[in-house]
């Protein structure tokens, strides 16, 4: 165990904490800009091909999407509880909430896997296997290309997040967060960001033209 309270390049633990928090926020804004490219593409094609987008959206399962949204929001809640527990130094509570967050994340990905397999089965995955009766074949492929690109990138970020949760769980078990719980806080920020992306993806992909 290190006797240092902060890394050598910093003058005080407060400075280190301030720097690492700012660093994570700076990283999160790079992630906002990463997703922005796909949102721009979405805006373009939704403007140009509204019927195809409504058609594409109608084949997405609103119930599964809603459940996933609720699952992810719940995981954000359990994550916040984990960070709070870490601030209080309560090892058991940290681990419990990390596990809950992880499990909810797995549920989310499981449901996504089910959705993806439905799309594959229905020949709605863009590419040579794409087949759809009715109008807007090409435009519909654009919708699904964006659907897979956006939810796929999101899922990729979730998988990384879950890896980080496992890492935290192991370190928590070793009592690593008794004095300094910054790592839990930082992973929490990342996890909430992943939730934020989904908060926007859900209505934009699943809830178009439902009233029709």
């Amino acid at each position: 165990m290190s006797t240092h309270t902060h890394a050598h390049q910093f003058d005080t633990p407060q400075q280190q904490h301030q720097a690492t928090r700012l660093g994570m926020w700076a990283f999160l804004i790079t992630e906002v800009m990463l997703f922005s490219g796909m949102f721009v593409a979405y805006i373009l094609y939704r403007t140009w091909y509204p019927e195809a987008f409504i058609e594409g959206s109608s084949h997405l399962d609103v119930m599964l999407g809603t459940i996933n949204t609720l699952v992810l929001i719940s995981s954000s809640f359990t994550m916040v509880l984990a960070v709070h527990a870490a601030a209080e130094g309560k090892k058991q509570a940290i681990q419990k909430n990390l596990v809950l967050t992880l499990v909810l994340g797995l549920v989310f990905l499981g449901i996504k896997a089910v959705e993806y397999s439905h799309k594959f089965h229905d020949h709605l995955v863009p590419g040579p296997n794409f087949a759809h009766e009715g109008i807007h074949g090409g435009h519909l492929q654009l919708f699904y290309s964006l659907y897979f690109a956006m939810t796929g990138t999101h899922a990729f970020h979730m998988i990384i997040g879950m890896g980080l949760l496992v890492y935290l769980f192991i370190r928590a078990g070793k009592g690593a967060f008794n004095k300094d719980h910054t790592a839990v806080e930082l992973v929490g920020l990342y996890w909430h960001f992943v939730d934020l992306v989904w908060i926007f993806l859900f209505p934009l992909l699943y809830l178009l033209g439902r009233h029709l």
């Binding site: 720097a19 800009m33 990463l34 435009h139």
Partner: protein
């Protein structure tokens, strides 16, 4: 006489691992210095090949497809692997913590990771080259790159994607370091302008690079999995790609020039022995360039099919973005006025920058004008414009900075006469290469073609002659700088008698930079006598 065994960052630990696993920002800067130089040589080799082909009007040296690969690799290597990282990752990494009074960057491990990521991206690009290269142009326009190209698009795209993260992490490190690790007394308006410039460039790295990252991934996904976002056959819009690409790639040129301008402020102040005139204007103009630079990307797309009205908006904004750059040039000139000027090698490079950047920048105004751009788009006029800024501007500043801080980095002086000589050779070679290109471009010679009408040959021959001189000019410093490592005059802490925290510590600096944490009590460039 016994050799002094003072510990500094170079002799503090020997062996390859102590360098490849270093967490010292100064050693990381040297890793970047060596590898960036190698990439520059590779990109330069492609440039030589291009200029050789263009000696004759017929496309007789290589096939068209091969020529396409040559200019593509030249562009990709020079832009992503040299111009964007060079000044920030070499000079920025070395100097930033010292200039603000810190012992290292905020995130030293991330700093090292940035270098490894840069190398990994380079490896991908190298592999792509070995497997036949890519021929889409460094701009990867769709649907050629996404559907029709038969070259190594995916591997190259992944290489650029990976290197983008190096840039993002470097920018992030710089931003956090500058925000949180300034020494007591080092307020924002006491920072050297080099730091302001790197701060602004880091903002762009962090906000812009992720957009090109996702764009490249989308192209790769389209090629691999037919996720056809750019495919016109499906109703996709090729102009969408251009928007996504240029949203980053225009600000990218400000990532290149801002650090160069930062170097310039340091050189002009030291070699006029005078405070930079209008310090706060120069500092604010860096931020203004960073922000405005994000609003003008459509000027690369005037003839692409984007809306004419959007073109008008981009045109006006492009005129506006020239203003902060001009503010800098005027302030440097005002600094020179009544300054005590000494024409050492770095100052020669600085003067070269002022002239060449001004020409490059003014021709940029020509291009901002819609009507002119319609005429010269995709001609050598454009090629000349951006080379004046990137080579005449960025590379001159880079070389000026390398020479200026060489004694600090290595503890040795370079041979002054050779320094001056190469600077002049480079200046002459550069102008001979690129001035004819303005003319031949305006006359209508298109870019990215390896054959051209016979009447353009004389200008092309002049350009190639210039390129050979330029190439020689670049090689000379390589020799004398390496020579100086062993035989150069030993340098003291402040050979230039300059102001700035980096000149208060030994040359080469100790690993921890400072004994404890310095306290800053004076303004930047506190040379004394002079007026606002």
């Amino acid at each position: 006489m016994t050799r002094l065994q003072r510990k500094h960052y170079i002799n503090n630990g020997y062996g390859a691992l102590s360098w490849f696993l270093t967490l010292d920002h100064k050693r990381i800067a040297l890793l970047y210095l060596i590898t960036a130089t190698l990439f520059f040589a590779l990109g330069g080799a492609f440039a030589i090949a291009i200029r050789l082909e263009l000696l004759t009007p017929a496309g007789d040296m290589v096939q068209s497809e091969t020529y396409n690969k040559m200019f593509t690799m030249h562009g990709i290597i020079m832009v992503f692997f040299f111009l964007i990282p060079a000044i920030p990752a070499v000079l920025g990494n070395f100097l930033l913590p010292i200039m603000i009074g810190a012992r290292d960057m905020a995130f030293p491990k991330l700093n090292l990771a940035s270098w490894y990521i840069y190398m990994l991206g380079g490896l991908f690009t190298f592999v792509a080259m070995a497997l036949g290269g890519v021929d889409t142009g460094w701009t990867f326009y769709t649907p050629y790159s996404s559907t029709y190209a038969n070259s190594q698009v995916i591997i190259t795209a992944l290489g650029v994607f990976i290197t983008g993260f190096s840039s993002i992490l470097t920018g992030l490190n710089f931003l956090v370091t500058i925000h949180t690790m300034r020494a007591p007394g080092m307020s924002w308006f006491r920072l050297p302008l080099f730091v302001w410039a790197h701060y602004a460039a880091s903002l762009i790295m962090v906000l812009g690079t992720p957009v090109v990252s996702i764009t490249i991934i989308l192209v790769a996904l389209e090629r691999l999995f037919h996720l056809g976002i750019f495919d016109p056959a499906l109703g996709g819009d090729p102009i969408l790609f251009q928007h996504l690409f240029w949203f980053y790639s225009h600000p990218a040129v400000y990532i290149m020039i801002l650090p160069a301008m930062g170097v310039m402020s340091e050189l002009i102040a030291t070699f006029s022995r005078k405070r930079i005139f209008g310090y706060s204007f120069v500092a604010s103009s860096s931020l203004a360039i960073a922000v405005l630079g994000f609003l003008v990307w459509g000027h690369h797309m005037f003839v692409s099919g984007q809306s004419m009205y959007a073109g008008l908006v981009f045109s006006i904004l492009s005129f506006l973005v020239a203003i902060p750059s001009a503010i800098k040039v005027f302030n440097w000139l005002a600094t020179l006025f009544r300054g005590s000027i000494s024409l050492q090698t770095p100052m020669i490079y600085a003067f070269g920058f002022i002239g060449l950047f001004t020409i490059g920048g003014l021709t940029g105004l020509f291009l901002a004008c819609l009507a002119v751009d319609v005429h010269v788009h995709d001609t050598y006029f454009i090629v000349a414009h951006f080379h004046y800024i990137m080579v005449g501007g960025v590379i001159m500043a880079y070389l000026g900075g390398i020479h200026y801080w060489w004694p600090k980095i290595t503890g040795r002086m370079y041979p002054e006469w050779w320094g001056k000589f190469s600077a002049v050779v480079i200046f002459i070679g550069f102008n001979l290469t690129f001035l004819p290109q303005f003319v031949v471009g305006y006359l209508g010679m298109p870019r990215r073609y390896h054959f051209y009408p016979e009447e353009f040959q004389i200008l092309n021959v002049l350009s190639t002659a210039g390129a050979s001189i330029l190439g020689i000019g670049y090689m000379i410093p390589l020799f004398y700088l390496v020579w100086s490592l062993r035989y150069g005059k030993v340098a003291g802490p402040n050979p230039w008698n300059a102001k700035g925290l980096e000149w208060t510590i030994p040359s080469p600096p100790p690993t921890e930079n400072f004994d404890g944490t310095p306290e800053v009590t004076e303004e930047a460039y506190n040379y004394g006598t002079n007026h606002a």
